[in-house]
Symmetry: D2
Subunit: 323 residues, 4 copies
């Protein structure tokens, strides 16, 4: 029973696949691999600290990352001015080896501002842009509005566009049907999904299988599971801290060494949750300090960790053997 059904199904797929290949002559930019979404260091007076940024970049350049994401949620981009956002990207481009991809967050609330920021980011040296869902009027950000928004941005963008769904911050998940539709746009190469719903991630990969569309896990907590269902990489806050280890997890998944991958994955969950959902950017920056990077303060209204939070953060790393 099983094999007959499979056969019939495969025939349809093959047919579609040919049609698709005829349509898209060129491959899209390959974004597979691991990226830390880098933090933005600030001075005590809350100015961008470019010196410390440079030093972090020197260290990140030596790790086996595919590239860096600049101004994902962990970069405190909503707290930067337009000029600061562009300036930080320029600085990263200056330091980062050309072999590494620079993906810059260019999302704004309005389509107009996003188009403009996207152009600016490309000009500042970004290889691709990561565009978060606009969310203030989330009750009206349905598939129609979001398809309209991303299509306008991708049409205008000089560089490839990566969709970005991060419900913990936006209160909004980019709907699967919108993603499937947008995956056909020649200038949209993939998706960073930070929601972590593995059933949804599998479905997205399945329904975009005939397009050249790449899904990146938005967090180290479900990186292995994402690889299992077909993701090609990850943008992981934890890679700012445990970069080597996150890349090792990628390597084990690519090799198919699931036994070792699982053990490593398990030990990364608590530290990852601690620097993301549980305690946020302040915790990420604190942990960076412990592991030899510059983290420093956050911008207000983000606050430093309380003593209790700090201790618990330490436990989340030490009880998993990292400190």
């Amino acid at each position: 029973m099983f094999s007959v059904r499979a056969l019939k199904y495969r025939r349809n797929v093959t047919f579609l696949w040919k049609r698709t290949n005829a349509k898209n002559m060129t491959r899209k930019l390959n974004i597979s691999g691991i990226y830390p979404p880098i933090a933005t260091p600030f001075t005590e007076r809350e100015e961008v600290d470019y010196q410390k940024l440079d030093e972090n970049l020197q260290k990140y350049s030596k790790l086996p990352f595919k590239g860096l994401v600049v101004q994902g949620s962990n970069g405190e981009y909503p707290y930067l001015t337009v000029n600061e956002r562009l300036e930080v990207v320029k600085r990263v481009r200056d330091i980062l080896p050309n072999s590494k991809l620079l993906i810059a967050g260019s999302g704004c609330e309005s389509t107009k501002a996003t188009v403009q920021m996207t152009g600016g980011m490309a000009h500042a040296g970004a290889d691709a842009v990561l565009v978060v869902t606009p969310c203030f009027y989330r009750g009206r950000m349905n598939s129609k509005a979001l398809i309209h928004h991303y299509t306008k941005v991708a049409d205008a963008s000089p560089v490839p566009v990566v969709l970005y769904s991060v419900p913990a911050n936006t209160g909004l998940e980019l709907p699967v049907d919108a993603i499937v539709c947008l995956s056909q746009h020649p200038n949209i190469v993939g998706l960073k999904d930070s929601g972590g719903d593995i059933t949804r991630i599998g479905l997205i990969i399945h329904k975009t299988r005939l397009e050249d569309f790449q899904v990146l896990a938005g967090s180290a907590g479900f990186l292995m599971a994402a690889y299992a269902v077909g993701a090609v990489g990850g943008v992981c806050a934890l890679a700012n801290v445990l970069g080597e280890e996150v890349c090792e997890l990628e390597r084990l998944c690519m090799l198919g060494d699931w036994e070792k991958a699982r053990e490593l994955q398990h030990r990364l969950i608590e530290p990852n949750t601690a620097v993301t959902r549980k305690y946020g950017v302040a915790a990420l920056k604190q942990a960076m300090e412990w592991f030899g990077f510059h983290g420093g303060a956050t911008r207000s209204p983000l606050q430093p960790l309380s003593q209790t939070e700090l201790q618990q953060l330490h436990v989340d790393f030490s009880s998993n053997g990292w400190l």
Copy 2:
């Protein structure tokens, strides 16, 4: 039993009241009354249409509003540039009679940007500012962070500050304990609460009773109930459309004519929901057109209403006798 308890309780209150009055020598700005949070008209190319804005303002000036809120959520402020936000406020100040209050939305995500925007708004002619809760990192926007944020802003602001809690857009409610704490700040005069939880609104009024702190209902849907529990006014999207009627509801509540107030309140709920939670700014702008104001298009990614939505919007007004 009842009277003894009440007596004992009242004694404590009286004591506190005296202490408080000694502390605050001067009354805070009186913000009681009705305000439409005005929409921002755009041209077909999505530029701000100052001509149409002026014409709306001429009409609003003749209605018995206490003043206008410029760049509340209905003003599409997240879609305006910094310069546009300031320019619109200047324009409103030019047209609006001096007897009317101009409350300008000056909230941004970072404390720094909010302080700067607040100064700019005051300079542009705002009598007070309305400061929305920052929300992108909502998981970390606890009472401590929000008290820090608002205190910094209120300390620096040349004009009085109104707190603004709008969970439908921000995914975040300003906690009661933070409000109680902030109500003691001499430059914080009140709260616009758009969440509509009437138990919470009653509690806030109760717990700030010893301060000179004023609560405005953030929507016409619960305006009468808010008056009943002690609110002093409302910032109501529906007042852009049915301004006279919303002011009439205020008048009936102030008079204590609850019978007539109730009947009017009932007929405003569906139209109000339609132009807010149900269909949002595009519906508000459409309804404005029906009632002789300039509404026009929204900025992208907000989309026009579908035909079905448009018809339902019409029903929500007509079935309540307004069209």
Copy 3:
């Protein structure tokens, strides 16, 4: 402008009113007034303590309640067996003066069981039944399913039916359109709404105005606001503790003495929240002890309050002048 619209609207209403009155020849059971949803006392071994129940009932009989609700959420009805549910109702009927209404909770998950329990409750002496929304398959409990359920129950019930929407426990709000539809059933007399969304409550009253349909506030926290928008009473957990005061609030609202009503309402919010949403049935039972009633233990898995919770509960009463 205003008066013309009002006139036209009123004409339609009057027309409908006549048609309606012709249809419903007899008035439905009048359920207006205040009801405590009584707690079920247990012995230390978690058996129903009928002796203590009797003593509570003796005291409640002297208060100006319209009646009692037996086996609302505060009665721990989901923890009682079928027999216990019926037995408790019988016992209450035996003690309660005939002048007082006994409304018994008869909701079960299946329609079949609810019909059966409803018959049993009527037989045990209930004057009306309160039927909670079934909720386990909440994703499928849409208007169609709920209208079907309540219609079957009301068709079969020997006594009038009160709808019951309590989203804090069921994760489900009975939709407004379903309520409007069900309000036309001759054996459905009203709704207990514990959600506390005052806009929704106003809308329900507005849209059922042509039926003989009565809305009861499901909590003392928004009782005054509910009266303001047209509710006719309340089923208030807090009335188990401060019964006289809740009835006094009713009296002030009926008199239209809003000033005094507001002051009293304000002081009831924190105690009410403490014995409902914040700490639940265990807190209600504890507070009952403080005020001379038998509360006692809850059934497992409900747990006693922690020391910290107990202290905070005391503060919530004492800081409002009740202890």
Copy 4:
């Protein structure tokens, strides 16, 4: 850097492992494998249809299932009387080969009723019981209450207990810390997790690694990902319909053939979502009819699918090559 940390970490684990093994002398019941949570067929008059149940069981007995779950959420257990719940389990035990495990759902709201039902299920022939979290007073169902509940049940149960977390129905997730604590109980053998948060599932497996504790995926939509992070099986509604295929997915995961597993997993997501979260039990029963089993009607208030839903359900199977 990586290897040193790993070494130190492993040493701690080894130490704990020895301690643990000394404590637990005997292995717990092995529950690894695939289980359909069987549907309960009803006659047109909504009586349990034992004849059709028998015929389904004959077919299921021939599939490579580890056993059956009787009265999981898909069995409509909240709609069955106490006697029906026991009777159905007896019937299944009579038909099912002894080599197959029978896991019976015995959860009720109160601890007392759950203890009693658990005893009844064991007596009726269950090899183990599946105990859903009580949920009506979900605001008070914290770790303390749930640990108390499950400990009482496990202490009293004649057969091993499987914890059951199904937030879509209960609105409640069994907290990780409660699971870790309960995993040490000698009579608690594992967890069915239907929430599908793969990060959480990985963490649970990690934090219970020193106990003999087994995690089952509660849905076919994330079965492969769950195996990847260390689950040992699944209780999958879809296995009622596509039992052979779900078992094939298990086989591929056990073999480590991730390429083929992924392709099969992808094709199961949409059918699985359709018969669970999207359309529920009515859809499951409809799909069972299409694949040669008896599904039939649901009990009220669950309703049959609408025509549109029925068509979409068909598409969800056919577009993935199953129909």
